[in-house]
């Protein structure tokens, strides 16, 4: 019971932090919409073309804008010592990674999920496709959170080249994008492709606490 209280306090703290820094998340969403505008200006306002390639554009931009917030995944907590305090309070490194991943999913990716219907109106995506996009991104965003946890814990002690973290996330998210966009364009084959996405999610969810916990331990011990 005491341990559960600690976990609840962890999420309460994350909630408070994200509420005070809500302008960061809003800036991410504004970035997402502005890049949609820029895409449409560069392609031209032809409705057929846009609805043909809209799903791919949306997935790419969601991926790009969710990698923008990777910097504050572990970095702030690492620099002001909160990660160490959490570990001293009985959280193992793997558990910290899992909790952080879930809180990143709730506080950073859920706002994107909410904006998907508005964005699909802007890009002339039909209702069925918007539903598939919603379903695929709700699984895919958890995969992206896990990848973000791995890459940002790798780059904790990397002071020179932080863009490397985004590159790592993007290179490993290639299969996710392939299967999600395939799911949306091949509507009959819904079940098999969503099972593949679930499979990727389970694999990465198992790898994540191991890999990022190891990297957290490494950085905290060598700091």
């Amino acid at each position: 019971m005491k341990f559960l209280n600690k976990i609840i306090f962890f999420f309460y703290r994350e909630y408070k932090l994200n509420l005070s820094g809500v302008q960061d998340i809003l800036t991410n969403i504004i970035f997402f919409f502005v890049s949609i505008f820029i895409f449409i200006f560069s392609i031209g306002p032809d409705t057929d073309t846009i609805s043909l390639i809209g799903v791919g554009i949306l997935w790419t931009l969601l991926l790009l804008s969710s990698t923008l917030s990777l910097r504050k995944f572990y970095q702030e907590d690492f620099e002001n010592g909160n990660l160490l305090i959490m570990h001293l309070n009985g959280f193992s490194y793997g558990l910290i990674a899992i909790l952080k991943t879930i809180s990143h999913f709730i506080f950073v990716q859920i706002p994107f999920l909410i904006t998907i219907p508005i964005a699909s109106i802007l890009l002339n995506i039909t209702n069925d496709k918007a539903f598939y996009l919603f379903a695929s991104f709700s699984i895919g965003s958890l995969i992206l959170s896990c990848l973000g946890s791995i890459s940002s814990s790798m780059n904790l002690m990397n002071q020179r080249n932080f863009l490397l973290g985004s590159v790592i996330v993007m290179i490993f998210s290639v299969p996710v994008v392939i299967f999600s966009v395939g799911l949306i364009n091949l509507e009959e084959d819904f079940n098999s492709l969503i099972n593949i996405l679930f499979g990727i999610l389970l694999i990465i969810f198992v790898i994540n606490p191991w890999a990022s916990g190891f990297c957290l331990k490494l950085s905290l011990e060598n700091n």
Binding site: I150, M154, M157, N158, Q159, R160, N161, L164, V167, I168, I171, F172, V174, I207, A211, F214, C215, L218, S219, N222
Partner: protein
């Protein structure tokens, strides 16, 4: 076989090994180029462009082999605490990147006359391009960390996570319908290639392997020396 895990033994053995390997690679290269340009027949469909295969296929095999070696050494280094694995990871990554680049460039030079385009987005080509980017990220992680203890372990973890790509590269031609042909030699049944083309291919593979080993020996020795200088 202790020289594969111990830096001092490696230094001693490589002192004997380096010159024979270099001479062997020069001999094999001249023999292989002679075979591939003059002593092997033209293909009945592709004509003379089939000779690109003698560069393309060995470099592709060695790109995969180098990554597999790096994966094995990362597991050894992390699980059994063999620090020589970290030295290998740092030293061998650029060699693998160069092999992958040679494979991609020769492949696109072959693709233009045969398929009509320099580049197609099919599964084999895309996964090899991803392999190249993974190699580049390994090199960049090596360059951008200041603390060496963290750097080498992060590199090892990244290599382990990135090794997911290896079976995808190998089996991409079987899982998807691709423009790239399926495996002709490295499969379970008998190779479906004529012996007159098989000979230069094997010779060129060994030549590439020898030149790779020679460069790797040089790079590993430099790495060992630089680590010794940093420690003392």
């Amino acid at each position: 076989m202790k020289f594969l895990v111990n830096p001092n033994k490696f230094n001693k053995v490589s002192n004997y090994l380096f010159k024979p390997v270099l001479v062997l690679s020069i001999i094999l290269f001249s023999l292989g180029l002679l075979f591939s340009f003059y002593l092997s027949p033209d293909d009945y469909q592709q004509g003379s462009t089939v000779r690109i295969m003698y560069i393309h296929v060995p470099s592709a095999w060695l790109a995969l082999l180098t990554y597999a070696i790096m994966t094995i050494y990362s597991i050894a280094a992390l699980a059994f605490r063999i620090p020589f694995g970290f030295i290998i990871n740092t030293a061998v990554a650029p060699i693998g990147a160069v092999f992958t680049l040679v494979c991609i460039i020769s492949g696109s030079l072959w693709g233009k006359p045969m398929w009509g385009t320099w580049w197609v987005w099919d599964a084999r080509l895309t996964s090899v391009a991803i392999l190249f980017i993974v190699y580049l990220i390994v090199i960049f992680i090596n360059l951008s960390f200041e603390n060496r203890v963290i750097k080498e372990k992060v590199v090892a973890i990244f290599i382990l996570v990135g090794s997911v790509n290896l079976p995808i590269v190998k089996f991409s031609v079987d899982w998807w319908n691709t423009l790239h042909q399926t495996a002709t030699i490295s499969k379970l049944s008998k190779p479906s290639i004529d012996p007159s083309m098989m000979t230069p291919l094997i010779i060129m593979t060994f030549a590439f392997m020898m030149i790779g080993i020679a460069i790797a020996i040089l790079r590993i020795k430099t790495e060992i020396i630089s680590r010794k200088l940093n420690l003392s």
